[in-house]
Symmetry: C2
DNA sequence: TATTGTTATACTCTATAACTATA
DNA sequence: TATAGTTATAGAGTATAACAATA
């Protein structure tokens, strides 16, 4: 059913012309990582954005939503649904500051800490599998190179 | 305006907890490349998907839309608007095959060839700037590592 | 006047189901 | 029945404008 009379149509379609581009290879690698990450977080009821938010809140207890948005490089309005969800699920508390009642102080609850610990372990395991074909030195240099490329953007790390 | 009485709120919000993850660094590097790519292609009236489509058609003249979709890893319906646009702009021709009148044979027009050549040069220049902090050897090993990670996904290249 | 959190909105990208015409 | 192209649709993800409360 395949190569019967393929005279006009290209018999083997290749993406070789896109392979020399860094962006193409980076995007394809990201697709793999992303799909794996989604599948890893799904059983925990987390998405990339909620996992990232939990992680940053866990390391910066008391931060505001605006600070969280900056750290995650997303716009403030897009975080409202995220903090709503995390708060409703009892993973994060939003306390009004007495000194400035406009802002919330975001903190993990005990349940939030536990879920974050489990999710972090799951993501580490999933990344270890993707890293598997690379040596320790290669992994370090890969991340260093990605950060160099990232720094070409805003100039900031 | 910064550190006046930051007692409850974290003074310095950091994403350090996400930095050890490969996925986070890859995504941030992709954000930079993507933003640059969009800005590079915009003056030519191209998006990532239209540029990629032109490139693959240019290397595989006569391929079908289904083959193009496979090469670009997108679903067939999402290519309709793309080929419509490229056809309307006179960059690509869609010829019915006599042997199978269901399928189109996609080919670049002379104008499509010219635009592709210009766009390819522009993207090469934009990537060279992002690559700048990396040595030739590093660039090769970066792409090789990205392809190893990609191969962990489907097993296919 | 400026900022925090919020609402409403819109745009892009992408995926699925179902149709048509051909095979 | 199976496939190519198509239509309609829906879901993420993300961006902007504008508002109320507070500073």
């Amino acid at each position: 059913m395949v190569d019967r009379e393929e005279t006009t149509t290209a018999p083997k379609v290749t993406d070789a012309a896109l392979r020399p581009f860094l962006g193409f290879n980076l995007r394809r690698a990201w697709n793999v990582i992303h799909a794996d990450l989604v599948a890893t977080l799904e059983p925990l009821g987390l998405r990339m954005i909620t996992f990232s938010a939990l992680t940053v809140i866990g390391e910066n207890p008391g931060l505001s939503q605006a600070q969280l948005a900056t750290a995650l490089s997303v716009e403030r309005p897009n975080l409202v649904a995220v903090t709503d969800e995390l708060s409703t699920r009892g993973l994060v508390t939003r306390e009004r500051l007495a000194s400035d009642r406009r802002t919330y102080a975001l903190k993990l609850t005990a349940a939030g800490e536990r879920l974050l610990a489990r999710a972090t372990e799951a993501v580490r395991g999933h990344e270890a599998a993707l890293y598997e074909p690379l040596s320790d030195g290669e992994r370090q240099s890969l991340i260093a190179m990605l950060q160099k490329i990232e720094s070409k953007g805003t100039g900031r790390s």
